[in-house]
């Protein structure tokens, strides 16, 4: 029996583990190794050059530009998404008619959740194409003509080096809010009602209930969301690659790390150097996850 059991365990694990090892783990490990070499990706020969790639990285103005842009997204995107999603979840949950504070949701909340979530199920290229065309810089572009009708001047949007990165930021936010709204909403509806009743009896209004009861109870979820959004902001590729001119333009205004990795690794024949960028990206991810989980740690509330 026991023997048969081990055979069964091995039999069930061997295929999934083998695939995972070949296509996921081994490339991750190799990336660390190649980051210490001058491998071109073409020739089978390469030298071990220590940390030289990383030294070069600190002088690479294009890469530094990409890092700076990623940092802008990293700061702006999670903050905006979480605030908007929390705000909408708040409205969904406590904006209802009637005097039950924090208890009644608005009518039609099902529809709102259904609608807000849609960008999440569509592929990034689809979203990128739609926004690229809507933000057409000519005066007759969709957004420009709408802006003109309400009295604003047009803009170059993605063609404007000062605005392009914020357009990318906006599309990221636009696409992510629905997911986090649904997430926060699910977490909110698992908060027991008697906590709200107690708050009402104590005379707390909608706003006080939200900030003093709901947000502290959601803290765990908010924290996790922050880490996920940060990873998303660091790993952004498809949106920039499809939507921006160049890609990464205009004038490298939307250059990001992933784009640099793809260019160096596949176009410039600098696979080792690109791997070093990947390692930097990895450590950014690690550091940010650690900081977020540490800095925002609070007493976990069980209910």
């Amino acid at each position: 029996m026991r023997h048969g059991q081990y055979r069964f365990i091995v039999g069930f694990l061997v295929l999934p583990l083998a695939l995972y090892a070949i296509f996921v783990i081994s490339p991750f490990v190799q990336a660390f190794y190649y980051s210490l070499t001058n491998w071109t990706g073409v020739s089978p020969q390469f030298d071990f050059i220590g940390l030289q790639n990383f030294q070069t990285l600190t002088q690479d103005s294009l890469f530094l530009r990409a890092v700076r842009n990623n940092l802008v997204l990293l700061v702006g995107m999670p903050l905006t998404v979480i605030l908007l999603a929390l705000f909408y979840a708040f409205l969904l949950n406590v904006g209802g008619a009637g005097s039950g504070v924090g208890v009644r949701g608005v009518r039609g909340s099902g529809f709102y959740k259904l609608a807000f979530f849609i960008p999440q199920v569509l592929s990034v290229p689809v979203i990128a194409v739609i926004w690229a065309v809507m933000l057409d810089p000519t005066p007759t572009g969709l957004v420009n003509s709408a802006a003109r009708r309400v009295g604003f001047g047009g803009s170059g949007w993605l063609a404007d080096p000062n605005l392009a990165l914020y357009c990318v930021l906006w599309v990221l936010v636009w696409g992510s809010v629905g997911f986090y709204l649904v997430l926060f909403n699910a977490a909110m509806s698992s908060i027991p009602r008697d906590i709200y009743e107690a708050a009402v009896i104590d005379g707390a209004g909608r706003v006080a209930t939200f900030f003093r009861v709901t947000v502290p109870l959601l803290w765990d979820t908010i924290q996790t969301s922050w880490v996920y959004l940060a990873i998303l902001a660091l790993d952004v590729y498809a949106l920039v690659a499809v939507m921006t001119p160049g890609p990464g333009g205009p004038a490298n205004a939307t250059q990001v790390i992933s784009l640099q990795i793809a260019q160096n690794g596949f176009q410039f024949g600098r696979a080792g150097y690109a791997s070093a960028m990947g390692v930097v990206l990895f450590f950014f991810t690690l550091i940010i996850a650690a900081i977020m989980l540490r800095a925002t740690r609070r007493q976990r509330i069980e209910y």
């Binding site: 365990i9 069930f12 969904l92 005097s99 592929s123």
Partner: protein
């Protein structure tokens, strides 16, 4: 609480609260109505912001290029159904076929291998169990771009660049972490008694899995299955680098955008976009509870 609210609404006179409190309550109710209306205004505002781009893209698929850019807000003079034909001529049919083949193979294999691994990890104790589980779980956190350059060469060395089997295997490998994580939690919650009864009747370990546990796990399989269908159908980064010569639909869309900057057949581009959007949106509308539950459950824990 609902009861309290109702008596509150109907029975304020009989409750005869002190006058001041009553005044406060009346003001509060007016405020409530205001908050309610304002909530709807804001929520409808964002819904419009989300839905208008998609509606506009659908409409653009039957407009001429001149109309898309010249009069973006107006309805087309006549419906240009030929846009769909020219999108098809530009290879959208082939891209769609590639996507369907890869996603079908990818999802079937992901579900099979993922639930096998999850089941063993959730239900059997053996040395290294935790390690294997965390190895899978860690895959959810790593940035794909760390691996993409070496991954390209791994797939190249296997002679699998731009092949269906190459993409399928890579999709499966990158879908395993979340699938294992999700199904692991699901198998943990299933009762042990049914499996024990099956063992008593002489069923083998594999037999219990395929005949007892897998059927019991159907709700979980449905959720994660739909999640994988949507996720793999929308995959762009992996095929972009690993399958340049056999593009899937998401890649095809990106390529079409790039070529329309020269060709200028924007109607065809939006027809292609519609072909890419409609199946996913239909699946989403049919299963949106499972989709939302599946997508958010990984983050909630």
């Amino acid at each position: 609480m609902a009861v309290t609210t109702r008596t509150d609404d109907a029975g304020t006179p009989t409750a005869t609260p002190p006058r001041q409190a009553g005044d406060g309550r009346r003001a509060g109710r007016a405020g409530d109505a205001g908050v309610n209306v304002l909530s709807h205004v804001v929520l409808i505002g964002w819904s419009v912001m989300v839905l208008v781009p998609f509606a506009w893209a659908l409409l653009a698929s039957v407009k001429t290029s001149g109309e898309i850019f010249g009069s973006p807000w107006s309805l087309p003079e006549s419906f240009q159904w030929s846009n769909f034909a020219s999108a098809w001529d530009k290879g959208v049919g082939q891209y769609l076929l590639n996507s369907v083949i890869v996603v079908t193979g990818g999802v079937v294999l992901t579900m099979l291998l993922g639930s096998m691994a999850a089941y063993v990890l959730a239900r059997y104790r053996f040395p290294g169990n935790r390690f294997v589980f965390y190895l899978f779980a860690a895959g959810m956190m790593f940035p794909v771009f760390l691996a993409i350059v070496p991954l390209f060469f791994v797939v190249q060395n296997l002679g699998m660049l731009s092949t269906y089997q190459g993409l399928i295997l890579v999709y499966v490998a990158y879908s395993l972490p979340f699938t294992v994580f999700f199904m692991h939690a699901f198998f943990k919650t299933l009762p042990t008694s049914v499996a024990e009864a099956a063992f008593m009747d002489g069923c083998s370990h594999a037999g219990v899995f395929f005949r007892v546990m897998l059927p019991m796990a159907k709700p979980g399989l449905l959720s994660i299955g739909i999640f994988n269908v949507i996720g793999q159908f929308n995959q762009f980064v992996l095929p972009q680098f690993l399958s340049p010569e056999k593009p899937v639909l998401a890649q095809g869309i990106a390529t079409l955008l790039a070529s329309q900057r020269y060709e200028g057949d924007w109607g065809a581009l939006f027809a292609a976009l519609t072909i890419a959007m409609v199946p996913v949106v239909v699946v989403y509308l049919l299963f949106y509870r499972q989709v939302q539950a599946g997508l958010t459950s990984g983050t909630l824990k």
